[in-house]
Symmetry: C2
Subunit: 352 residues, 2 copies
DNA sequence: AGAAATTTCTATATCGATTTAGTTTGATCC
DNA sequence: GGATCAAACTAAATCGATATAGAAATTTCT
């Protein structure tokens, strides 16, 4: 009868200052709160028309479920915990992995909580904490060992997880990995193809699966190609320039006929090149360096290093999906991804 | 088909496996749930003896408050959101910053959620999302600009935050920063002291505060020292080796008397050195390079680069504390930290 | 002693969502 | 026509913690 010229206390046109909840939608639609909840969750006992109405209202007022409410009631946290070892080549993988997993989580209700642990810490501690306090729905972790206690622990409890790198039980759990064995094989074969006969590999610790894979792959390929190969203790990022030179110097003195070196990381490569050059070797002429890295960096360093890039971004995004599937469809076979390295130009010797 | 002789996955080893809640403690102590809550929160209206009893029980059974319960009731999330730009030298700072902030959060009830955003994204988006959905108690972000809209937005709303780098309003908000102006001044002075007279600076974009500070500091110091200085557009991590050489080549052709270069990052330094060496310059002899980096890396590269290290670890730990104080004691003056760079050996020209 | 104040604890409501157990309505069936 | 059944909804309980108001026990005051 009268035009409501005066603004209503709850004018639904402008979104309230308060965050909308199921109650808000219930009030606006005249339906009960559980009905709204069930409609939004697509329960079978809610009418199609009702669902449409409720969803329209929810979208209009920008309803987003309160995480604490969901978590308290259901136990679902909508959190994926990323437990990262900062040991070894921290800079090579970590930042990109974090960024990629976060990217893979975009558009999902999952948030990513990062829990780094330090070499001195017990790797089990953060895992146990998350499982016992149920502070995440799934865990992603890296630096996997063949007999990894974290894998055993989580599988035993049926707690969803995904790993960057494989364990001995990798056939039964989600993972993303780079085929380090293939990398090593390609490296040896390429060096052999270039006429190199006396190869060293600066390998990551064999404690970890990727270090072991790399060593095994290189040894097998060297035997097949009939070239000499031996594995050198890795140079860590804590080594000083002088130490590295000494290390490389000793290597050269022990056997001056070295003509190829395989390096598993940016760090190791730079240290090795610096050392070899200090010994008077010209990289690309007297010796070939075959390297792997996760972030394109070595191209700033020397043109004539042979570099394969590991696509950590791809792995991270995959791990996000794999972890979510482990949470939501635990009965499906685990998602697994193996990046197979390949030389970009199989038979084209690039010229400097 | 197969007989079900396989034993069950696992039987509960510990009978009291349920996670303890306030109710558990209430039952064990014979007190009411709110009493237990108030005792654990050290409320003034609970007797000393009662508090002692309750705390003992809580410790014995390993009680940890349910985050969802706390969050739902109080609105406190116990989450610090780290919103990181992945623009520019991702690898230099980011991983270490994440790790350091997480370290600073150890022993606190705070978890760290990482939300990277990409150069193409609107920097305001993640900030708005967090504030509107109240999904964190505080935000830490980096890549600060002088007139940063995020700073304005958060200050306007009184939302707790801390920044890595300063804005124009830095006197009023928590931050940790490195004195890039001082770095540039020291660089110019040291190069001048070594007899360099024609200096270039490969600077980060002046859009960001740190880029601006660096440029201003260098210009002032150059004027004071009476040396020539000009600023070169930064080389990004997307530049190819060839591009960089071309860039540096053009620089040398434009003025072959260049004898000093200041670089703000590992990347820029490596690219610059590679370019200069390709032009036939010997670093440390024909030209001096003065660099800054967050992760000791350049020492693997060349001995004779002059390097100052930025302590991102310190900054990260500080930011954690600063953010927590902004949440808990918003009326205290904001915690602020400025790392002042200094040359390790003021008047000792190191020998190669 | 009786009232007032203090100390210490309890009952109840609440945050927001979901689950369980109904209830209503209308259609179906014999 | 009455019973049965399905569809579509609602009421109430619940997750775990905390805020508020109030009650019981004790002490202090006049």
């Amino acid at each position: 009868m009268t035009d409501p010229v005066t603004p209503l206390p709850d004018a639904p046109m402008h979104p309230d200052l308060e965050k909308p909840t199921l109650k808000t939608i219930a009030r606006l639609s005249g339906l009960a709160v559980p009905t709204v909840s069930r409609a939004l969750n697509d329960a079978p006992d809610i009418g199609a028309e009702t669902k449409r109405t409720i969803r329209r209202i929810a979208a209009e007022i920008g309803y987003v479920p309160n995480r604490a409410g969901v978590r308290l009631r259901t136990g679902r946290t909508n959190v994926i915990s990323l437990v990262l070892s900062t040991e070894h080549d921290m800079m090579n993988h970590t930042a990109r992995l974090i960024s990629a997993i976060a990217g893979g989580l975009q558009g999902t209700p999952y948030h990513m909580i990062v829990t780094p642990f330090f070499p001195t810490d017990d790797p089990m501690k953060p895992i146990r904490y998350i499982v016992e306090s149920r502070s995440a729905d799934a865990i992603i972790f890296n630096q996997v060992q063949p007999e990894d206690p974290r894998v055993a622990y989580l599988m035993e409890r049926g707690f969803p997880f995904a790993t960057h790198g494989r364990s001995n039980r990798a056939d039964k759990h989600p993972y993303a990995d780079y085929d380090n064995g293939a990398f090593a094989r390609i490296a040896v074969e390429e060096l052999a193809r270039r006429g190199r006969r006396n190869i060293r590999m600066v390998a990551p610790p064999a404690l970890h699966t990727y270090g072991r894979d790399m060593a095994l792959g290189a040894q097998a390929a060297a035997a097949a190609a009939g070239v000499a190969l031996s594995i050198v203790d890795g140079v860590t990022s804590d080594s000083t320039n002088a130490e590295i030179r000494a290390r490389i110097g000793a290597l050269v003195i022990a056997d001056p006929s070295i003509d190829g070196i395989i390096c598993g990381s940016t760090n190791a490569t730079m240290a090795t090149v610096a050392g070899m050059e200090a010994e008077g070797f010209d990289v690309g002429t007297d010796i070939d360096i075959f390297a792997k890295e996760a972030i394109p960096f070595l191209r700033f360093f020397r043109d004539r290093i042979i570099v394969l890039e590991e696509d950590v971004k791809d792995a991270g995004e995959f791990l996000a999906r794999a972890a979510i599937q482990a949470v939501r469809q635990p009965d499906l076979p685990p998602l697994q991804m193996l990046e197979i390295p390949a030389l970009p130009h199989p038979t084209d010797p690039s010229k400097g």
